[in-house]
Each structure stands twice: as C-alpha cells, then as structure tokens.
Symmetry: C2
Subunit: 303 residues, 2 copies
Amino acid sequence: MTGGDVLAPHLHAHAADFLRGLRLHAVSGPDGAGAEEAARALRAAARRIGAALATFRALLDTAWADRLRAELTWLSGTLGQEYACTAQLVRLAEALARLSGGRPPALPPPRSGGEALAMGAARAGALLDRKLTQARSRAHSAALQALGSARFHALADTVALLASEAPLSPAASASAATALGDPARLAERRLLDAVAALPTAPAVGGEQQDAPWHQVRLLLRLHRYAEELLGAGPVRYEAGGALDRHRDAAEAAATAAGAARTPRIAPATAYALGVLHADQRHEVAAARTAFRHAWERTVVTTG
Amino acid sequence: MTGGDVLAPHLHAHAADFLRGLRLHAVSGPDGAGAEEAARALRAAARRIGAALATFRALLDTAWADRLRAELTWLSGTLGQEYACTAQLVRLAEALARLSGGRPPALPPPRSGGEALAMGAARAGALLDRKLTQARSRAHSAALQALGSARFHALADTVALLASEAPLSPAASASAATALGDPARLAERRLLDAVAALPTAPAVGGEQQDAPWHQVRLLLRLHRYAEELLGAGPVRYEAGGALDRHRDAAEAAATAAGAARTPRIAPATAYALGVLHADQRHEVAAARTAFRHAWERTVVTTG
C-alpha cells in the first residue's frame, strides 16, 4: 500500500460527506429544520479535508492543496459564526443563571441603595442577548450570502472533483508507513513542542496569553485527524474537549468585556458584566487544568 | 487527676498570656511598634480562654463563665477589626494586581473606547483603598477606646484573678477522662454534624449560604482547642486554615460588592469591582475544596 492508497480514499470519503451536507442544505432551504445539521456536516467535512491537506501536503499537488485549504477555512469560519453566536448566548445565559443562585444574577443581597444593582444582572443579560442576537443575524446573512456566492460554487466544484480524484504528488507513491507516518509524526512533534511551551500565565488576568492555548487546540486537532487516518482509535479526545471548552469560555469572557464597553450603561450593568467576565475566565482556568490532567493521563498511557 | 486539675492550669496559663499582652500594649503605646503584636496576643489568649469556657462550661461557675466569655468575644471582635481591615486591603490589592497580569487590573486590552475601562481597575483599587483605610481608622479608634474603657478594666481584673484561680464547679472533681472527655466528644460531635450538614450550594452565586461554613469554622476551632487541652497534637490544622481563607475571601467579596454600591461611580469602576467580587467568590470555592480534601484526609487518618 502506498501513501496515496490511504490518503485518496480518505479525501474521497470526506468530500462525499461535504457534498451530502450541501444537498441536505439545498433540500432543507436556508431556514429549514435541516439547515443547521447541513452546516454542521459541511463544517465537519471541511475540517477533515483541510486537516489532511495541511498534514499530508507533500503527498499532494501543493498549490492546489493550499488553495483548497484556504477556501475550506473561509467556508468553515463563515458557517461557524452563526452557531458560535448561539452557543455563546446559551453559555452566558446559563452562567448568569448559575451566578444568580435563584436571585437576580450575581449580586449579593441589596443593602442600602442596592435596588439599582439588583437590576444590573438582568440588564446585563438583556444587553448580551441583544448584542449576540444581532451578531447571529449578521452571521446568518453572511452564511447565506457565502453559500450563494460564486466563490462557494467554485469550492463546491473542487470538492466534487475530489470525491472521485485526488491530485497526488509523486511522494504519495512511497509506502504508506513512510509517506503518511513521517508527516503524522511531524504533526505530533509540533503538538508536543507547543504543549511544552504553553505559558504558565494565570487564566484570570492573563487574557493576552491565550493564543498559545488556541494554537495547541488546532495542533491537537491536526494530530487527532492524522492518527484517525492512520487507523488509530479516538486520540486525546478528552484533551481536545477541554481545549474546545477553553476556547468557548475565552470567547464568552471577551464578549462580556466587550459588552461592558457599551457607552452609557449603568454601573450596575457593568458590575454584573465584570462578574460574568471573571466567571468565564475561571472557566478558562478550569479547562486548562482539565486539559493538563487529560494530557498527562494520555502521555502515561501511550508513553 | 480530676478535670479541674487539667482545666485550671490551662486557664491560668492563657490568662497569664492575656496579661502579658496587656503589659506589652501598655509599654508600646497605642501606635507603637509592639501594639499590633500586643493586640494579637490579647486576641489569641481571649480565644483560648473563651473556647475553654464554652466547651467545659459545666466544670465552671456557669454564670461567671458565660459573662466572661461574652466580654472576651466583645474584646476579640473589637481588637480584630483593625487587623481585618488591613488584611482585606492587602488581599484585595493583591487580587487586583494578580487579575491585572501586569496591565491595569482585570481588563482585557482596550478596543474602541476602552480607555475609560482601563481606568476602571485603578479607580476600583483607589476606591477600596479609601474605604478600607477609613474603616481601619474607625476600627483603630474603637480599639483604643475599648482598651481605655471601664468595661475593659473590669474584664482585665477578671482575667487577672483567673491567672491564679479558676471558679470550678463540683463537676470538675470527676476524673479528667470523664469531666473533660465527655464535653470534648460533644464538641467533636457538633462539628461532625455541622460538616455533614454543609450545603452543596455553589460558592459563586451562593453568597446567602455562607453562614453554615462560618459556623463550621467556629466549631472546628472549639474542637481543636479542646483536643489541644487534652494533649492531642495539632488537630485538623489544615482544614482550619482553609476555613480561615474561606472567611477572608467571603468578606473581601462582600467588600467589593459593597464598594460597587457607592453612588455615582463610573461603569468601568463597577465592572472592575464585579471582576474582583467574582474572583474572591472563586477563592471561596477553592477554600471549600481545600477544606473538603483536608477533612477527608483527617477522617481517614484518625479512622
């Protein structure tokens, strides 16, 4: 078996998934019941194809691979925005409810003049709801526009071709063990280095040092997909989940902070947003701890 | 050995400590270098004597014991206020510095119109500093006034007598094992019951359910002092430390929330205070976890 014998069917299969997602979207209509499911299928397929193009780039026509990968990243990002807004709305509403402990969110019992403050959490919730609903509408329009664009049609044509034919390079004729194993090991090495270099800055107050964590999330995904292609079982699934939660909490915290910059909000609203921001940054810290634990467990198991 | 043979020397010794603290305070003057040390010694002795009076009340003239204990509680509380203000000032300043991660505290990098917000944390720090410094001045005056009062002189006279003579009841003539062991076991039982009944409400958003935790802190102290009198080594020292941190964090969070009720503060200041409040409530949660771990370890150790 050559590297191409393994890589090509993998690309064909995920390209076929992509096309199925596309058909589902066409059938359900832009706002139909299946539209969300279709977008999720499209994004999942795009992620898998993009990851294979990145890790096994040398086995493919590299100019073609780079171009397709850029287009898949664009599509994933565009389709993901709407879902991200919904998920964040749910996350922040849940956090406000949890912080409230049954009373108006996040606020200790009002003493003197506390009435205004007790309103703050409710107002913060309404403000976030308004902002995220607006953002979601914009994302929805942008996604519909993207799916109707010439750019998307060109991408869909490329993926349709990929469902039956992958433009392999001569390097793909090497044995699968070498052609796929070497790049997969490189992907793992990049991940291990990035994890080893993770900063020790605290999550709370260390917002400016989130980027290396987000980078590890992407490298872990590339590693997982490469292992999957090589026939390994679920790889570092738990660590990946922790990094997903990490990203979600970091983005929710940024949204709370952003909402606090709204001009002319009441101090009580700002206070509740501050509570919410800190709470989500603590979720970031918890996700980092969960990642470290899951990571150490896996290293011990495989090492 | 009778119960009185053990209890009386214990009371004598701590009464002597109290008197030493008093002399140190007189020597150093109200604002001198030794004044803080003297106040700490007075409070520590008052706590030990008060705990013995509470746990071994039946071995003493109960009317006398109840009266002295109430006076010791009053003195401890009055002398403790100033120290508590200082400790809280330090704690909140440290938290703001930690949350800042080097930049103006607690705030993500300013984007549009973020200048005002970047000021918020600095203003919150200044506001807390002002409030706590004022509170400390008031506490200092109150402590000085208390130490010069007729009420304090009467208390000092009672303690001076206690240094050589404890008013024992007939129950103190029973064997030490019975006279001291039974009340000590009762104190432990009360503690165990209170720990078992601790609510599971989350620390963040569960401010109104702090009281049982504070109660456990007091019961644990009574238990520890009783064991100490019976000659046990350090008992549940770590669990006690966790509950001290729990109390400190809960009070700091309340101070942050209280400061947010200051009329006419800027939204940015309120936001930073919200961040600080949530941070301290997470410290409350961390202290509870630390307590549970220390507690379980001790239970396993002692069987």
